[in-house]
Symmetry: D2
Subunit: 310 residues, 4 copies
């Protein structure tokens, strides 16, 4: 299907439920899709960092996209990450995920290698030239160790290389430069600026973001959809209250951080919450992530209860 | 073939020659293998950073390993990188490169994700358990943004998880901790400690390293083999003179650094030198790396000439 | 004078005008204080990063505080940085700036040394125990290479060690944790949470910040004071328009960044703007900062004009 | 006194003994100077990182230099750190330490501010122009978060701005570039290249370093002096054995690292060792460093005993 331009509202990065032996749990994944759709989201983003794309084999990645595309059957637009180190490898993923049904691809700057802004621009140009679907830039310096400069994003937007930006940088200043830059240039109408920062979605929308891609929306899609509607309706007080409830809920990502990596703690918490809420069958995360302990899961449960979700 | 334990001498990380349209140039690759073998190297390492593994598709990676394995026909041990973000994806590469003929695999810490020492250890344990061939750790913080702690390497060596270390960290202090740790523990005899730092190979050998994996050995394998022999013979003065000639030669990696990424500059220089020396047909590097300009190639040529290689 | 608790509104970090031979230009400094006071600011912060505290000798630092304290004569509360590497050196500055008339001190985490959260906490406790005036934490990871964790700030607030936070981290997520944490704990009423991020003051106020400490307010105090009032009045549309005008004005900090350090470019631009607006006599920055070129100053002028300030 | 050019041999960065209430312990400092002189060192370096310069007040800094200068009475050349954020503040320290008797000053790149290579060069030029004694560059990226590029050091050496380099970067590759660069240019004879890396002094000397400034030489000056002599005599086997004994001894710096900052752990261990060896009266480190626990001190003692020093 054709993507709305701009894409607005809540577009969750979808967790990838796994079985105890770390295979994609197709039935849980379908239930998760239904859970999110029922919450009122406006699109889905698979194979991003929250989806554990970095941990899924190529076979598993394709299975995820196919499963979600088939299950959606056009109900919602489907974005898919094409996460790999450099252009030639990303192009292979673009081919795979579009064959499997993705309506757009989401691509980071090159990583592992030592790169340069001119090479990042070339990377996106080559990918856009080859992709049958729109390309979104994925700004995630915590993963790729490069920040996409706002002026580079705007230049690539103006050249019709990029259709949108998924910003997971945590840098609201650079994000605003993109938002206001898009508004200032008439040719950029339709370019989508989406925030991935769970705890400042109200602020991002208030300064002009089109939508949000919050990992925490797996756990509480209704909450983020309410937040989005309250912001659009200009109901500041209730929007802030809703956002603050979600800020408190976001504490689940910290339950494991002293003894495991940040990815394991955050993704483990999202999955534990989905499991406690009955959406997925098994909270396992992919190898080599440390699993949450029963005690840490219990703390996730308490935080869920305090947020009214259990 | 079975790897010597420890592996000693010069084991170059082999460049991957490409055609002008960025396909693997199989004939040039074979010539490069012959060039290195003629220089007296003791093994080859394909699909490392110098091989542009980060830029090669899975199909190209397999072609590289098969080509080199077939051409070597057992003349030299063949190590292959299995470079990817996490355990499940690395395991797929381990299967592919060993099917294609690799005698050992070389594996980095997880990257892209936020990891933890306990997860790095688990990563190596899972890979070693599944790999049909020995596993070397690849310490390359400039790429993966994590430094392998010396005590973790020693612990994994003692547990027979790792067969060796390829150190590209530039940190001779940590490297020495591994070298002396290996020597201090009788059970670790046979563990290979190899340096990837082109300009301090003499120092690394002198403090007890088993061998070297210098990218610059693509350009001058004879020089590195001479250096290794002089060091082993205890001929300090001539060893230092040889190393200093190679230090001067290493200046080629800097010809492009102001206007491109560090990878493009270094790999572009290695390939330009191999092209100027008549070993490979085309100096192209993979996308999206910026190519060297004619002027920059000319500076590579001057440095080669000064080192007596043209 | 006693500080309001919490301190609210706009509290500019005051530039330090210098003569052509890099002495404190006392007359220009007094004019700058009047310019800011006339703009409606609610306090002044001297000897912060914007004040070039890192470049001022101890004699100059004392002169700055005395000059501003005497000139204010109690019209506005005066905060002063006590910027140095560790506790004993900071304590000397606390003594000096309070002797010279500061109503509060602003202190970073230790820097230059390799520190630890437990040592950062101890640092603030020792300083608070010795300081005759309230202590604000200054969170500026770009300078000190440590981020103050939100829970540490809240713990020190609860223990009455800290009276407020000046956040120059650019991390709105952590900032919000402090803001909501303060509101959630009754004992913390009066703790001041101030943002130093020029381009997202509207967002910070909207999520509950008490006030702002924007370097750009040197150039346009009236604009920031208007922004603060519009935000408090709930006039979202006009607040956003005002903030966006200031975002465009903030482009001045980038005029020099390709050929000098970020500090030289930003501070040089603030001073060039103050000079062009007739507030200070000389735009010189301290050594060893590269001065702006005439061309770069002309670009500052154009941006000022576009913002209606020339 | 005039500094030898180049300065050679072992030049320890002298710890600053403190009393239990954190005053400079003048008597212990004198004993430490005698202990080092008796070990055969060729100079002393006070007010560096190992001296806790970052923690000493200006008054304490002057007292340290005066005490050591008076006690040496010309027996050995005395270098002193002038450690501060920027040029004007460093110049004040240069004046103070030379008035107190320093024969040379040791200066880092600017820190706390965001700087640029052109500004670093200007910083050193201004300091050299004003300093009555030779200026050494102090390359310590772990503290100042900037690495001095080898070509910048060589350029400043050629311009007679710098008299030497104290390299605490841990980067032997860049260090070698300076060493070979100095040798390659006739005009640079007399420039001193000194390593601060405790565990690779043999390697540094073997590639041409003039001398070493190892913090660990406080604990075992005789060992480092033996190492230096063995290296100069070309007795490789005994040099390596001596260095490896010192590598094992260097483990003391890690006894506290899980619960305190790296500075506290390393400096605490040096002082605990000096106290256990009877050289200083009290092992206290400056605030806000966490002190070693009795258990951690006991581990220092065991390591000392294993190295034959108790």
């Amino acid at each position: 299907m054709t993507l709305p331009a701009p894409l607005t509202g809540v577009v969750p990065p979808v967790c990838t439920p796994l079985t105890p032996d770390r295979e994609v749990d197709v039935r849980s994944l379908r239930r998760l899709v239904d859970h999110l759709a029922a919450g009122g989201v406006r699109g889905l983003f698979v194979l991003g960092s929250t989806s554990e794309a970095a941990y899924l084999t190529d076979r598993q990645r394709s299975l995820v996209v196919r499963t979600v595309a088939d299950h959606l059957a056009g109900r919602l637009p489907l974005l898919a990450g094409a996460i790999d180190m450099t252009t030639p490898r990303v192009l292979d993923h673009v081919e795979a995920v579009t064959a499997a049904g993705a309506d757009a691809v989401v691509v980071t700057a090159p990583f592992y290698t030592r790169t340069h802004p001119a090479e990042i621009a070339r990377h996106y140009r080559l990918i856009a030239a080859a992709s049958p679907v729109p390309v979104f830039a994925y700004d995630i310096p915590a993963a790729v160790h490069t920040k996409l400069p706002a002026d580079l994003v705007l230049e690539l937007a103006a050249g019709k290389v990029l259709a949108g930006l998924k910003d997971s940088s945590g840098d609201l200043t650079g994000f605003r430069q993109v938002v206001t830059g898009v508004r200032a240039r008439p040719g950029l109408t339709g370019f989508s600026v989406l925030t991935g920062s769970e705890t400042v979605v109200d602020a991002a929308l208030s300064l002009g973001a089109d939508g949000a891609v919050p990992g925490l929306a797996n756990v509480d899609p209704h909450g983020y959809v309410r937040l989005d509607r309250l912001c659009r309706a200009g109901d500041r007080e209730r929007a802030r209250a809703e956002q603050e409830r979600l800020v408190a809920l976001f504490d689940i990502v910290g339950v494991g951080t002293t003894r495991m990596g940040g990815s394991a703690s955050a993704l483990g918490a999202f999955k534990a919450a989905l499991h406690l809420r009955g959406v997925i069958d098994c909270p396992a995360t992919a190898e080599p992530q440390t699993p949450l302990s029963p005690d840490e899961v219990a703390r996730v449960g308490k935080i869920l209860a305090a947020a009214g979700l259990l």
